[in-house]
Symmetry: C2
Subunit: 248 residues, 2 copies
DNA sequence: CGATAAGTTGACTCATATCAAGCCCAGTGG
DNA sequence: CCACTGGGCTTGATATGAGTCAACTTATCG
């Protein structure tokens, strides 16, 4: 859905595409009305920085559409992605007034923003928001810990396979394109972004993708479009135990 | 404080050593009474496993004293620590009935447990608990992300220095032993546990500690007692920007 | 058409893992 | 009291996976 459309269409929360997954998921209609009063939309183009780590941040937000990344850096420029923000994910932390990470749009994105102060007040009066935020935060913590295992202990090949498996899963869940065993999807990240996600260099990412292709684990069409002939094979390459995680 | 003492002394929450930092931190005395009704203590000896990943877990808990670790493993035995549980930290997840990680006591520990079901019900009626838990979970998420940067992008030497800095900071905060610039503390982890924390092998941990000692960044007395003559030097070795984090 | 960004591939280096030997020290039992 | 044992740790020699540097290909866009 193009950014302009969303900004027009979603004036009402009830029509919002992320209505049942975002922080507001549990709100009843009167609660939604309160949120409606303090919300506003912002969009960013692919490549734009939403906010720099350390900058003052006087809002919190939900990603409505598009993808953004959360990154941390060391002074010498080494950077590590610490989160991938997908539609319905929450940005910012109530009770903190500067950004802890760099946030960058990797595709065009639309965010549903709330000024922090009113949002915090609303949260105190509206347990449903806090409850949902707790749930989402616990999920993110689990995801972060899964990622720690990947970063600390997996080989480059396993890292790539894990990333592909996660993207494939998410795509399958969203698009419901459960074409019998044969999955296909587009990578939403550049090789460099993948490297930052996986704690590798972009050259290693490129080599391992080539290797997986050479070994028939995946097929490539162009640089970004991936087909997975045998998902179990991919999972096996990822090194996880059978299930490996859960749908995102 | 020895385990037996705590189990005797802390019959009343008001005397509890973690009263102001744990999930119950914001509770008022009537709320505390409710918690009091459903709580019970359990202790574990150093080395004991508290629970295995995947096992049924019908309680949640706060660590009262001692240290435990959260670890994940791959089938072939590679293991990664994903969390360090210190006094006041919370264990378990409301709304989930099996453990997601292995929990192991690295020292003797005492935990203040709540049966999950009553705790969940209490949480719905007592916003203060949910609020505090959200706050704590957000802190843990930040810590996990800090750790992702370490795992993905830091060198072995920087990883060791970072770990030492964190332990030193925590110790200084707790013990208030702000002996002018000169910090000293005991490592609460074996070389192997450090390796699992840092995504290294135990040999590399050992070598890097020796190297830091040789270079005068730290001094060792025995295997576990560390003295840091110049904390800024250590921070510099850790590769973080000046502040590097926050007190834990 | 250049020009630029994304991606691939090769040659070489280097940090960390791996394998192996041995030290230190506390605890145990003869 | 001493030999023995085992866990925690250190150190050395060697192997290897991933990083680095550099050249080249593709695709896209003015």
């Amino acid at each position: 859905m193009p950014a302009e459309d969303i900004q027009q269409l979603s004036l009402h929360c009830s029509d919002c595409p992320i209505r049942h997954r975002a922080v507001c998921a549990r709100c009843e209609s009167t609660e939604l009305d309160r949120l409606e009063e303090i919300k506003y939309y912002r969009s960013f183009e692919a490549g734009q920085t939403v906010i720099w780590s350390g900058d003052k941040m006087d809002f919190v937000a939900s990603v409505v559409s598009g993808i953004a990344t959360l990154t941390q850096t060391l002074e010498d420029g080494r950077t590590q992605m610490v989160g991938l923000l997908l539609p319905s994910d929450f940005v910012g932390r109530p009770g903190r007034d500067s950004a802890a990470y760099n946030i960058t749009a990797t595709t065009d994105i639309v965010m549903c923003c709330f000024r922090k102060k009113p949002f915090e007040e609303l949260m105190l009066r509206t347990p449903h928001i806090g409850q949902r935020l707790l749930e989402m935060t616990l999920d993110e913590l689990d995801a972060a810990r899964e990622w720690m295992l990947l970063l600390g202990r997996k080989t480059a090949r396993e890292k790539i396979a894990s990333l592909l498996a996660i993207v494939a899963r998410r795509d399958a869940a969203i698009q419901l394109r459960v074409a019998q065993g044969q999955l296909a999807f587009d990578l939403p990240l550049t090789r460099e972004a993948m490297a930052d996600y996986l704690g590798l260099t972009l050259e290693t990412v490129s080599r391992q993708i080539s290797a997986l292709k050479r070994d028939g684990v995946i097929e490539l069409e162009g640089k970004r479009h991936v087909t997975v002939p045998d998902f179990d094979r991919l999972l096996c390459e990822a090194g996880d135990d059978s299930d490996g995680g859960f749908l995102v």
